[in-house]
Amino acid sequence: MTEYFNHIHNGIPITDVEIIDLHAHLGSTRIMHIPANDVISMVKSMDLCGINKTVVSPIAGIDSDIVLGNNMMLESIRAHRGRIYGACFVNGHHPELSLDELQRCFSEDKDVKMIKIHPISTFCNMKDKRMRNIYEFASDRKLVVLVHTWLDNDQYGNQDIFAELAKDYPKITWIMGHSGGPYGSRHAVELARENENIILDTTLSTAPARQIEFFVSEIGSERIIFGTDNPYLDPRPQIGRIGLADISHQDRVNIFSANAHRMINF
């Protein structure tokens, strides 16, 4: 039984440790109905479980229009300053526009903190040469880049492709989104061991039993960040995964926010 067992079982928000969600989105989508997809609903669900800060990259940018998505991101930051932060979404099929968006978003608001890439949704391979300027931008500024990754059936951004880029751009901190999916845990820790700039992400709907414990025992809790996929996924179950995992309090603090603070100046 963990120190947060009673909190979680009684629906009491965790407040004695800061919780930062580095993997979230915003808005509606063609592929599914999301009841609580607006930023007000997202902040409400954050409040219900104790998430202090969330970094969003709106679904609109992933599904269709990166400018629309990034505008939604900037608006949500302004509407909920200190709670919502931004990840600028880029797409290698629009290399010049992506670079413009990076310049615009990072200069327009100090709370844009990361870059988000979703290779399989944009059908743009991470190794596509049109991505190079985006990586140079991130590398020059030593930014954090969150990439949706899955197993080797993802020909655009699987874990091995992701790791190749991590090797090529060592100044970037690379978050392996979803840590390669439910079957990807073992390969994720192998790649994280080989590349110090790879960070594992806890975000998953099909969350394997003992995955958090496995990550911590294999690579240490300093290389794992907390993510939720909010609002694709409700953020509250992800609190349960970390809060009830058989790991130490310090491990939980690292995952919930200490690692995020080491990577990003909030």
Binding site: I34, Y183, A207, A209, Q211, P235, R236, G240
Partner: protein, 252 residues
């Protein structure tokens, strides 16, 4: 506030050929997962009944959970025509004798390869309907069209849609509008605000707690429910009350 009593409708014992991460094949492993998450009781099927052959797996299940009062048996069943499983006239008394609480079917070609249409499964599903035995369907192994067909043909059969995902609302909502005997299990039903929205539209009695342990962790489903913005009565019903009510309605 008191901790909710969790009665999980979606657990298994047994080895799996391709585990997500750890293979947790035995009852002790499942009980450890339940303890970590704070889950009290569970309906349990055997993975060999799903991935191997149902009669073998059902038999293994009865042996393995025999001494565990918090675990209740769920059999995986087949239509009787090939003789692999008894005719419902014999199967159901056998189930009752073994205190089987619910059943699961895996009709798709890469599982048990049979039709859910009446010419094949009608007698089996009809017999289950007659006794109000809950039928648990794994949405990773059959379609929403199949679910609708079963619900249309057997309007008094309690059907629990397990492992339906956060992407399924556009199927679930019209089915819940039509069918009072459909129940939604929580283990992957985790879209933003999904629980609150379902309760608001259809009431809490259509939601059944489930975790898919030990393939998944049970900790996520617990926090989904405890942190949901619904009243305590609804949480209690979802955590275990609704499933208990369904089971109490069986075998009468």
């Amino acid at each position: 506030m008191h901790k909710l009593n969790y009665f999980d409708c979606n657990c298994s014992v047994g080895r799996v050929a391709y585990p997500y991460l750890h293979d947790i094949p035995d009852v002790e492993g499942l009980l450890k997962e339940m303890e970590t998450a704070g889950i009290d009781e569970a309906l349990v099927y055997h993975t060999v009944a799903r991935d191997g052959h149902p009669p073998i797996g059902n038999s293994m299940l009865m042996d393995e959970i025999r001494n565990h009062r918090e675990l209740y048996p769920v059999w995986v069943v087949l239509p009787h025509h090939t003789g692999e499983m008894s005719h419902p006239d014999k199967l159901l008394p056998e189930m009752k004798k073994n205190d089987v609480k619910a059943v699961r079917i895996y009709p798709k070609a890469n599982y048990h390869s049979f039709s859910i249409s009446e010419w094949c499964s009608g007698e089996l599903l009809g017999a289950l309907e007659e006794e109000c035995i809950p039928l648990i369907l794994d949405l990773e192994t059959l379609s929403w069209e199949d679910v609708n067909t079963i619900l249309e043909n057997h309007k008094k059969l309690p059907v629990i849609a397990a492992t339906c995902t956060y992407r399924n609302n556009r199927y679930i909502y019209p089915l819940l509008e039509k069918h009072k005997n459909l129940f939604i299990e929580l283990s992957r039903f985790m879209g933003g605000g999904a629980v609150e929205d379902l309760v608001k539209r259809f009431g809490s009695h259509h939601i059944i707690f489930g975790s898919n342990m030990p393939q998944y962790t049970g900790t996520a489903a617990v926090a989904l429910l405890t942190y949901s913005d619904i009243d305590q009565k609804a949480k209690k019903a979802i955590a275990g009350g609704n499933l208990s009510n369904l089971l109490n309605g069986a075998w009468k």
